[in-house]
Symmetry: C2
Subunit: 353 residues, 2 copies
């Protein structure tokens, strides 16, 4: 007999993107930001480093919550910090979902939702998107009985962004809608938690991360924005001291330097436009990305071969393959790195054919 | 209807010790280390700070696991890192315990065990200790059906340490024994995971933290040591990137500087001996502590009054009160701070009466 819970015994576990620890790679596989974080982040960490690491961090993350709340024009009790938005997703699952209840997400999208639902013993339901990444006609009906509906907007791996009006129609009658805005700052017109102020706002949780637009994947920091009634329940589930002194200081400083983040996301938007045009010139089809990555497919379907040949040239992109009700869907998800890195991809793809 | 799971709706949530953010307190309420961490920790964080915070940390925590495994003479696949041993406790619960299964712990002990069991929907069972903090005669019978038995050794808030042989008898037949050794390094003869090498070692998980003996409560870092078969299941449940680049660097450097940790724990053991003798001189009863705190009770039972009067003098200790099957048990848990801080407590207690 296994000591493990049956779900844990049976599951494969989530496989993160490859993280080679040695240098020399053009690493465009996990949507990290090509540019460094604000110098204010370094200063802030330096400061707490020589302070008192022997004492616990502020369990209420008071300063961080104040800064984040100003950004979204809400009160501080609308904010809950976590170790990356991944921890926030775990907290959401443990706050709202009992075993055998339904958790839904569009498909293909972020595969961690299914892993977390499995761990919680929930029933996970894929809502298969149309081939142009739009919602199927029965999406709202399928989502209706969910305890949580996760909607990454913009979506991954496609990079497209859905309209607010489409998303509002999907809110489950007895559950919450989690808007995973990990890539929100890369949109042409970034959203600012407007949906929280809609009539259904008290059933919506927005999640944000500092890993992408703020160039801080290394510090693992994300947060939720939601009505205080929802945050109150989530706070009972989170570990009291989930965020550490160093990452709290780094995250607070990063949010304070909006100019730095804006300059980097502006640059990435410009590189994205150029890359899309170049890669289309090579015969690829792409989605109009609103993120820092581009989903690239080729009519010949030879995506895995190209992934392997890029890897041989020390260029790492993400090859993704999704089984569908009929057949499969695959492609290359390529992070919008620096212009130089993207030129290397283009040159290599031209050579590879 | 509440959107929350019924457990979350009903529970009060864990209350951490007070963490005043303003200076000027003699803070002896959450068992932080009175001394700073090793200078190597600061150096290590400085180094990664100017490195690449824009990329994800190593999801396998390779270097940390190597250093930790050497310390306990096991292979690296016996180690799982987490955000404080609190996150390890959460991972254990989600790995091993299904709703309605039994989770046990001695009582009084660390109250977080019960909170985590509640969140998981488990049945929590207190095994009430004798008044001298020894196990009751029926402990092994009571523990038998647990999926997890948590045993903090040394125990909190009492500070006493149980013998290995007593603990081995308590291992549940279909569950795991979690030895929470948060305070292990403060013992007169610290244990070194010897029980993992016993015949029942494959059903034991040892948890450790860097918050106490390594003076790093601020970085939230702990880890589990257990047979690779157990670690493998736990790894499926943990977030891929649960530990960040900064805390990984800090924790690795801290473990490398054993001399620094030994010098601090030696100092704390000496202060503890002196403090126990002083406080006994004032009429208190104390346990022979093997930790960095001392459980103090007074025959007159006026513990809450003394806590309040100390607080008025800006001395913060922990007043704890535990309902028992008959009556209650309360007392003051006082962290072994610097000699100067402890002298202030002694002087104040003498004044307060």
């Amino acid at each position: 007999m296994s000591l493990f819970r049956s779900q844990v015994q049976q599951m494969a576990g989530y496989t993160p993107g490859e993280q080679p620890q040695e240098p020399g790679w053009v690493k465009l596989n996990t949507n990290e930001n090509a540019y460094p974080p604000s110098p204010l982040v370094l200063e802030a960490v330096q400061q707490v480093l020589t302070g008192r690491l022997n004492v616990y961090p502020d369990p209420l993350a008071t300063e961080f919550r104040e800064v984040a709340s100003e950004l979204f024009h809400v009160d501080a009790d609308w904010i809950l910090p976590g170790n990356g938005s991944d921890e926030i997703l775990t907290i959401l699952m443990r706050t709202f979902v009992d075993p055998n209840e339904i958790v839904s997400a569009p498909y293909p999208s972020y595969t961690l939702y299914e892993t977390l639902a499995e761990i919680q013993g929930a029933q996970f339901q894929n809502i298969q998107l149309n081939s142009n990444w739009s919602w199927p006609a029965n999406a709202s009906e399928k989502a209706a009985k969910s305890k949580i509906l996760f909607v990454p907007n913009p979506n991954a791996p496609s990079g497209n962004r859905w309209q607010d009006s489409e998303i509002l129609e999907l809110i489950p009658s007895q559950g919450v809608l989690v808007l995973d805005e990990a890539y929100g700052d890369f949109c042409d017109s970034p959203h600012q938690c407007e949906l929280l102020k809609s009539n259904s706002g008290d059933k919506i949780v927005v999640t944000r991360t500092l890993s992408k637009s703020y160039s801080l994947a290394g510090i693992r920091f994300g947060f939720a924005v939601a009505h205080p009634d929802l945050i109150k329940g989530m706070r009972k589930v989170k570990d009291s001291y989930n965020c550490n002194t160093l990452s709290l200081a780094a995250a607070t400083a990063a949010l304070k330097d909006q100019k730095w983040m804006q300059a980097n996301t502006d640059q990435i938007r410009a590189s994205r436009t150029h890359f899309i045009s170049e890669v289309r010139g090579l015969g690829f089809e792409t989605v109009e990305s609103q993120t820092n990555f581009v989903w690239c497919t080729h009519p010949d379907g030879e995506h895995e071969r190209r992934y392997q040949e890029l890897k041989q040239r020390k260029i790492l992109v993400r090859y993704m393959k999704f089984p569908l009700q009929e057949g499969t869907r695959d492609g290359l998800r390529i992070t919008v790195g620096t212009n130089d890195e993207l030129q290397q991809v283009i040159d290599a793809l031209r050579e590879i054919g």
